[in-house]
Amino acid sequence: MKIVVCVKQVPDSDAALAINADKTWILESGINFGLNPYDRYALEEALKIKDAGEGEVVAVTLGPDRAAQVLKTCLATGADRAIHLKDDAFQGGDPWANALALAAAIRTVEPDLVLCGFQADDDTLAQTPVLLAGILDMPHATGAMKIERTDAGVRVERELEADRREVVDLPLPSVITVQTGINEPRYASIKGIMAAKRKEMKTPDPADLGIDPSQVGAAGSRLRFFDMAVPPKKEGGEVLTGTADEIALALVKRIRENTGVL
């Protein structure tokens, strides 16, 4: 079984974020990046399938030079090889342009299964994997909380709202997006980190993948972001200030007066 895991490098969840001068995205300088949390679960799911049988796990990312870090994380955690779409022509793309580039890279692997995180923690667009499935003409399922092999393919439990799940069977190859909490992701061992240094990391450019550079990256994009801003705040509640003890006393008073539970 050959499994591709698509991963993205995103700002750490506790990074202090600011908006760039063009108001199109965040300021990327001076913050730490890491593996998108959703993708860590997708990687673990791939490694579990590999552990249960045999196979190969190929991690793929699209992003600038610094994004090599998340591929190294994948390799150190157990992925076998990696593909990094880091050519300038690939950068700055919308989900369609990105899916087109990723699809071209994934075709070179000829996978049985493509796993992705449900969404990226930064833009939370939650669509690139499904576009990718469309381009690759593979069936897909989003928001998996369980993936099981069956004779004919895979059985996926999709997370619905309010604690319900939808069970669907899919043939292979297909594209599945993974929700957080599906498994307990493993972390890289020292041995894994050492072994990762010898693993292959390819960096194909558009010509290597047979794609026209005008179709990918910023040039191939039709979805444009502008006017990024802090959303106008709704009128919030009363702000309590003071020392922790003063705040606590004031709060006890408010709870008494307003809730009837004390």
């Binding site: 669509q127 909490g181 802090v230 003890d245």
Partner: protein, 326 residues
Amino acid sequence: MAGKILTVIETDAGRVRDCSYELVTLARELAQATGGTACAAVLGDDPVAAATQVAGHGVETVYAVKDPGLAAYTADGWAAALKRLMASEGVDIVLFSHTPLGWDAAPRLSAVHSLPALTEIVAVEDGGKVWTRLMFNGKFQVRMTLDGTPAVVTVQKGAFPPCEEQGQGAVKEVAIGLEPGAIRQKYVETTSAPASGKVDLASADIIVAGGRSIGSKEKFGIIKELADALGGQVGASRPVTDAGWLPHEHQVGSSGITVKPKLYIASGISGAIQHIVGMKQSGYIVAINRDKEAPIFEVADVCIIGDQFEIVPALTKAILEARGHG
């Protein structure tokens, strides 16, 4: 632009979902702004009854798209049927709710037209030329344009009010004739998480909920102590239950439990929309967060900007003293 604005209706046990009526509001708004027409589609093996429910809500036509292959939702089935409907009806904008159906089907449909989708939008301007959505867990908003048609859109639940009944639109039955083999996913069943009976957040009067920033199962003790002091239950945001610090049944939010206690205290929870929808109806909301910009403060009655590791234990002490146990 004067084409059709098509709302994709979701049903649950035969009833049209509230979020679909929110889409109709938006469709009507867009139709008015563009001179186009608001339409809707109900897909199923027997869609006419639900289509009739929708027809009395100010849409011109409700397509009852009928096929045995549409008996249950599948991405392939929905994309194939809607693709055909759009080709025959000239649709400029397709609206889905940002739900497990919408985020599964909408990008598949936009891919048919070699376009990205506009996902989880919360506002629109200029008759569908400019869309607004949130990013970074609600920290920022961004405006967007899409160069191309059709615009396939998913709309955040609750972003628009549900539409009022109005007029009487036509129900038009459409037999779509999906080829066998066109649908590769096979729907098996829908299941519900079994309740353990140990915690019952849905009927709790007091909930103290902690978030990712608590940092570990052990440190979650400060939340439990406050809940105990108040005689309340412990709630959590998703990362807490994902990490196994608490069982899933403590998770408040769109993919967990919706709660409505008299008092909800949220500590170190940023206030992502998926959490907010599960607790915003609480009677009295206290938010503790060290980031004064945290979206949770927008739904709070009392805002405490500070470190939960100082505030929460101080509050526990004050509550115990107030109750005479101190």
